[in-house]
Assembly symmetry: C2
Homo-oligomer: 187 residues x 2
C-alpha cells in the first residue's frame, strides 16, 4: 500500500482545481494577509458557502465578479430558522474557515483557522426588488440545486443586515473591524 | 488537462483512506440508514470533530472504541464561549454533515445533508474526576494539537448535558429522537 501521504498529496492537487464539484472548493483568490481584517473577513464570507444561522444554512454574498459582503439566504418557512426570524429578527451567522481547506493541519478551534460571526437582523426581501433579483442570482450561482427546490415549500430570499462582526483569524483575540470597513472593502 | 471528474475520483479514493491527515476525515464506520434516527445522530456526532457552540469549537464524544454521544470540549476562558458559559449554562451545539464529505453533491442546506443541534447545559468538569480524565483522552486523541496548547491560557474541560435533540437527515422534518434513545444507542 502506498504511503498515506501520497493520498494527502493527491488531495492537495485536487484542491488546486478550483471549479470542481462544490462551492466549498471554489477558491478564486488567495487568503489575504491576517492583519488585513476587512480583507480577511470579506474573503472568508465570499468563499464560504454555508454557515450556522440557528441551523446549518447555505448562503451567498454575490456573484464571481461582485461580492457584497452581505449574506443572502434562500429559506423555507417550513423550517424553524425562517419561521422564527419572521417573529424575532435578531440572528447571527457563524462561519468556519475549516471547510475551505485552507487551515492546513491546524485544529478547527485553533485561532489560526479563522472563524467569523456576523450578528444582525435577518430580514425578508421584497420579492420584486432589484436587490432580491441580485440575491437570487448570487444564491443560484453558488448553489445551483436551489433552482430546483420545490415551489410548494415557499422558499424566500432573506438577508442579514450586519450590525456587528466578531472575527478571530490569529492569536491575540478578535480583530477590530467595523461593519463599515467590512462592507466598503473592495475584493 | 484531465477531466475534472478524474480529480473528483482521486478525492473519493482519498476519502476512503481513513486515518489520513485530520479528524474530519476519520470515517471509521459507514453512514447508518436514515430511518435509524439514534444511529444516524450518534454516527454524525461521533465522526464530526467540530461544530458551532456560540463560536466554532472542536469537540470529541469519546475514543475509537468508546463513543458516548456526549460532546466534550477543551475551552479557554480567554474566549467568550467559555467565559459566558460559566455565567449562563444554556448552550446548543450545531453540526453539519458537510465537512465529513458524505453528502455527495447535495447542497449543505439540502435536508439529505444531515444537521443536528444538541441543546442543553454547558458545564465545567471537575478536573480530578474520572469523567474529566476520559474526556481529556477523548479530546487529545481526536485533536492531538490540544496537548500542546499553552497552559497559561487556562483551558478547561466542559461537557454538554444534552436536554433536546433536533436532527434533520432527510425530507419530512426533524426526526423524532429522545435524549435517552440517543445516549443508549450502541455504535
Amino acid at each position: 500500500m502506498k504511503s498515506k501521504c501520497f493520498y494527502c498529496f493527491l488531495f492537495l492537487i485536487f484542491l488546486g482545481f478550483q471549479d470542481c464539484c462544490e462551492g466549498r472548493w471554489l477558491l478564486a483568490s488567495p487568503k489575504p494577509d491576517r492583519d488585513n481584517a476587512a480583507g480577511y473577513a470579506r474573503w472568508l464570507v465570499s468563499h464560504s458557502s454555508w454557515g450556522i444561522l440557528r441551523n446549518v444554512v447555505s448562503f451567498s454574498d454575490g456573484v464571481v465578479d461582485k461580492s457584497t459582503g452581505i449574506p443572502y439566504f434562500y429559506l423555507t418557512t417550513l423550517d424553524p430558522t425562517a419561521r422564527n426570524a419572521l417573529k424575532d429578527h435578531r440572528s447571527s451567522l457563524t462561519i468556519s474557515e475549516n471547510p475551505l481547506g485552507t487551515c492546513g493541519n491546524a485544529d478547527p478551534e485553533n485561532p489560526v483557522c479563522a472563524k467569523i460571526t456576523l450578528t444582525g437582523k435577518l430580514v425578508l426581501l421584497d420579492a420584486n426588488s432589484k436587490e432580491s433579483k441580485f440575491a437570487q442570482t448570487a444564491l443560484f450561482t453558488k448553489h445551483p440545486e436551489m433552482k430546483g427546490w420545490p415551489k410548494s415549500h415557499n422558499f424566500r430570499i432573506f438577508k442579514l443586515k450586519i450590525k456587528n462582526i466578531f472575527m478571530i483569524n490569529w492569536f491575540g483575540g478578535p480583530k477590530p473591524l467595523t461593519v463599515g470597513q467590512y462592507l466598503k472593502y473592495k475584493m
